[in-house]
Amino acid sequence: MITDTGKVDGAAFEELRSLAHRAVDAGRLEEAQSFIEQALAWAREHGTQQQVDHASCNRAALAIQLGRGEGELAALREILLRSGDPATNRLAAYHLSLHYEVVKNFKKSLFYARIARDRANVLGVPEWLASSHNQLGNALLGESLIDEASREYEQALELMPGERSVVRALVLNNLGYCRVLQRRSHEGYALLYEALSDLRKFRALRYQVLPHLDLCFAHLETGRYRLANRQGMLALRLAEETGQIDSIKNALYLLGEAANLSGDTETAREHFTRLHREFFPDQTYLPGFLLAVDVRKLVNLHA
């Protein structure tokens, strides 16, 4: 990229990565990908090996979010093994962990999250350490290790006091969900509503689905079915808008559960039937089963 001074420099590289970062926060992943491809092309032509590696990790991160992470694994592992730079190592390990979280292999996710955290510890950059603790928390939560996950999220938040950002909002959301599972609902509500408020402030549309889903679940757990329905509907609409399949499934399940618990069997059947028809067409028993058995204690919305 040519800067306004007409020179090709490292600032342009960082600017492209920053633009990509903002596009990701806003949920515009294809646009972000375009910025990262430009940054990578620049790095290959003018940059250092470290810049090439960082841009490659960024590209992998986007591919992971777009559900195409498998193709980036070899590159990430190669960077992790080759690079002697802890910052690059951390980035590669972090994104490997993220990939395995997305494909729900939480043990592998945990393995790489620990490497990322160890590298971040060496580097001592609070922001990187915080995101590593959050990633470790996600892997632990996927493994149903709720208390351990909570501690990682708490550590992440301690490293970002007062700061308001999309990343912090996501950590607040994760800890909020844990608090609801730990039956500390008041704390859970406070954390989830703060997360939602911050994500709205930053217009991070894609990520707002998460607190809406978790709030729906929290309201279900505390018997506020009307509010659960409201949060569930918001989650469903946003998940459909942003094409997040797992969130659509979770929203339909939670909406069905909310209707069922409030005694509206017909509406519950409609949601469960849609869940069966669109996502589990072979499992014809699903609507009847979900109407009869409350599976809230079996389901992990973050797994």
């Binding site: 729900k104 493994e143 797992d246 618990l261 599976v295 204690k297 797994a303």
Partner: protein, 122 residues
């Protein structure tokens, strides 16, 4: 549903998975392989300590090709669903004579059901 009954329910689901696995003569390793999960996760699930995604939950249900009613018969027996609560509430709201009529009708339907399903061993 009370917290205690919910906890009981998740334990029962775990026990039911273990029972069906054994009836199908599958080891934890074999079943976990079929489900695409780790053996240690299946073990925790059988002990009622592991929450899973909807995908995994429904994969488990699909794995045992028995009627879902049979699968969760024990769970359903121990569970009071919202519909059950609603029915009881409606029943209690009826006057005494109407409640007796409902009881008579239930007795009639039960007798009818027994007549329609004779013991096949005879």
């Amino acid at each position: 549903m009370s917290t205690a009954s919910k906890v009981r329910q998740i334990q029962l689901v775990g026990q039911k998975i273990r029972q069906l696995r054994k009836e199908h003569k599958l080891t934890q390793v074999e079943l976990s392989h079929r489900l695409g999960i780790q053996q240690s996760d299946l073990s925790r699930m059988e002990q009622g300590e592991y929450r899973v995604s909807l995908d995994t939950l429904f994969r488990i249900l699909a794995e045992f090709k028995v009627g879902i009613g049979e699968f969760f018969e024990d769970v359903a027996k121990e569970s009071i669903t919202p519909r059950d609560v609603q029915l009881v509430q409606k029943f209690k709201d009826l006057p005494d004579h109407a409640q007796r009529e409902v009881e008579d009708f239930i007795a009639f339907k039960q007798a009818q059901g027994r007549r329609e399903s004779p013991d096949t061993d005879d």
